[in-house]
């Protein structure tokens, strides 16, 4: 694996986990309404 690919995957994990949390909040909001 190239260094750039590892860095890219790390960025994807950070942004992806945030996006995942935002989606989780969205579904919790839909359920609560």
């Amino acid at each position: 694996m190239s260094d750039a690919f590892v860095v890219f995957v790390s960025y994807a994990v950070v942004y992806g986990s945030t996006l995942g949390y935002a989606a989780y909040l969205h579904f919790r909001r839909k359920r609560a309404q």
């Binding site: 190239s2 260094d3 750039a4 590892v6 860095v7 790390s10 960025y11 994990v13 950070v14 942004y15 986990s17 945030t18 949390y21 935002a22 909040l25 919790r28 909001r29 609560a32 309404q33």
Partner: protein, 236 residues
Amino acid sequence: MRRVQIMLLIAALALAFGAYLAFTAPHDALQGEFTAMLYIHVPTLWLAFLAFGITALGSIMYLIGKKARWDRAAEASAEIGVLFAVVGVFTGMVWGQAVWGQAWDWGDARLATTAVMIFVYIGYLALRKAIPDPEVRARRSAILGTIAVIQVPLVYFSVNLFRTLHQTQSIRPDGSTMDSEMLVALLVNVVAFTILYAALFMGRTYVARLEAAGVTQRAPAADSVSSPRLKEIEDV
């Protein structure tokens, strides 16, 4: 809810600009491509510190005023703080494996204190799940949220108190040891992640408010108590 969506949009734009600066900033001579880890590792852990600080503030305000909104703020911030702390540790492990040759070292003061901090805040969230009564839950978790924040300065200053593997701070009161272009990229990312924190915090407290209102509406006494089955008693 519209405010949350606008904040999320602003955060996404700021993060995109931050990522652009991160990948165009000059590389460190020794770390090469892995220099870019700086721009996600530092902001995510900065956010964890900020989030746990807000949890402590919400906890103290709850203990003073007994207002439910402070309890909701403390809970929301702890949840986001744990998310960013875990993500920040992950980025640190990737960076450590590349630069130090090892992802983790329990002998390192910064790594060990950070791990303990995450465990305590996971414990804080578990405590909240374990207590059904809202007032008891709010009071007990506020006490823990107030005490647990002591770990934030402990983690931050661990690199100064114990000289182990992790480097000391690059940005100090007397100036920075970083290249100015790298410093700008780092600060832009710190601001972008802080906006993201604000958006998630607003979204999380909004959901907590809706859920609290839903619990109050769904649990009237008439629904939770069944009528006595007198016919069955008469038959016996």
